[in-house]
C-alpha cells in the first residue's frame, strides 16, 4: 500500500472515531448540563509514599495525604495535597527539589483551579515555586503556612 493510501486509510479510521466520540461528549454535556471532567479523583489508589516517589518529593513521616487526582491527556498531570505539622516544614523545604528562592507569593497559575479536596484558592498564605525535571516535566509545589500548627502542601507534576 502506498504511503499516501496508508495515510488516507489512517485518517479515515481515526477521524470518525474521534468525531463520534466527540459527539458523544457533547451529548453527555447536554445531559449533565456540564462538560465531562477527565480529571480523576484518586483518593485510595496510591499511597503518599508512592505519589511522592512519582512526583519526586520527600515528606516527613508525620505527613498526611489529603487527596490526589490525575488528568490524562496528551500531557498527563498528577496533583495531590498533603498536610504536615508546621514544625516539619523546614525539613520538607530542605529536601525539596524546588529551590527556596523559586517560591513566590500566590499561585502564579502553577496549581490550577480548585476541585474538591484541591483548594489552593482558599489558602491563607500561599507561595508557589516550580522546577523543571528531566524528561520535560514540571514539578510545582505550593505551600500554605497560614495556619499555626498545620501546613498544607500542594504538589503538581505534569508533562509538557
Amino acid at each position: 500500500m502506498s504511503r499516501a493510501r496508508r495515510r488516507l486509510v489512517a485518517v479515515a479510521l481515526i477521524l470518525p472515531t474521534v468525531a463520534v466520540a466527540g459527539m458523544n461528549c457533547r451529548e453527555n454535556e447536554k445531559a449533565n448540563g456540564k462538560g465531562r471532567d477527565m480529571s480523576e479523583a484518586n483518593p485510595s489508589a496510591a499511597t503518599l509514599e508512592q505519589l511522592a516517589r512519582e512526583a519526586g518529593v520527600k515528606f516527613p513521616v508525620a505527613a498526611r495525604l489529603i487527596g490526589s487526582a490525575r488528568e490524562s491527556g496528551m500531557d498527563d498531570r498528577l496533583c495531590f495535597k498533603v498536610e504536615l505539622p508546621a514544625s516539619d516544614l523546614p525539613a520538607f523545604l530542605a529536601s525539596s527539589p524546588v529551590a527556596a528562592d523559586a517560591f513566590e507569593p500566590g499561585e502564579g497559575g502553577l496549581l490550577g483551579p480548585d476541585h474538591g479536596f484541591w483548594d489552593p484558592s482558599h489558602s491563607q498564605r500561599l507561595r508557589t515555586g516550580q522546577t523543571i525535571l528531566p524528561g520535560q516535566r514540571a514539578l510545582n509545589i505550593g505551600i500554605d503556612d497560614g495556619r499555626p500548627d498545620v501546613v498544607a502542601i500542594y504538589v503538581v507534576n505534569h508533562g509538557t
Binding site: V18, A21, N24, C25, D37, M74, D75, D76, G108
Partner: protein, 170 residues
C-alpha cells in the same frame, strides 16, 4: 490533531497565544507572574540604561480540562518565557521604566507512550496515536506562539492591567 494527521508535514504550528492567555485562567496567571518577575528585575537596572532582557528559565504551565477543553486537548502542558528590551529613565527620585515585552510559548505536539486520553468513553492511548508518527502516517511538530506588550510604569507602581490585556498580535 488535523495538523498531525492530515497535514503530516512536521512544520511548526503557530498558536494564538493571546487567545490561550485570555481563555485559560491559569495561563493568564502564568503570564502575569512572568510580567511580575520581569518588573522586579527591570527595577534593579541602572538609571539611563537600555537593556536586552530575557527570562533566566522557562516556566511550564498546564491547561486543565476544567479550565478550557479546547486548549486542554490542543496543548495540555507547555513552556513559556519572556524577553524584550527595557529602558530606565527619569531621575533617581522618579524612576520610569519602559519595556517592549515579548511573551514566548513553545510546546512539542507529541504522543509519548504511557499516556492516554478518553473521549466519550473511548480511550485513545498515546502509544496508539504515536504509532501513526512511527509509521510515517503522521508527524509530530513544534508549536510556537508569542505576543508583544508595551509596558510602562514608575518605581513602586503596579503595571496597570490594561497594559497586559491590550491587543498585541500573535
Amino acid at each position: 490533531m488535523a495538523h498531525y494527521l492530515i497535514d503530516n508535514d512536521g512544520r511548526p504550528l503557530t498558536i494564538n497565544l493571546e487567545g490561550m492567555v485570555r481563555d485559560v485562567p491559569s495561563a493568564t496567571a502564568r503570564f502575569q507572574r512572568e510580567v511580575q518577575q520581569m518588573q522586579r528585575f527591570v527595577e534593579t537596572l541602572p538609571l539611563g540604561s537600555l537593556n536586552s532582557i530575557r527570562s533566566t528559565n522557562v516556566e511550564a504551565g498546564y491547561n486543565t480540562q476544567s479550565e478550557n477543553r479546547n486548549w486542554f486537548f490542543a496543548i495540555g502542558g507547555y513552556t513559556t518565557w519572556g524577553m524584550g528590551s527595557a529602558a530606565v529613565s527619569g531621575t533617581r527620585a522618579d524612576l520610569a521604566y519602559a519595556v517592549d515585552f515579548d511573551y514566548k510559548f513553545y510546546d512539542r505536539y507529541n504522543w509519548d507512550a504511557g499516556k492516554s486520553v478518553t473521549f466519550g468513553g473511548i480511550t485513545v492511548t498515546d502509544r496508539f496515536m504515536g504509532e501513526f508518527h512511527r509509521q510515517g502516517l503522521a508527524q509530530e511538530y513544534d508549536c510556537r506562539g508569542s505576543f508583544k506588550r508595551r509596558l510602562t510604569w514608575k518605581k513602586g507602581q503596579i503595571i496597570p492591567g490594561s497594559q497586559l490585556t491590550a491587543p498585541g498580535g500573535r
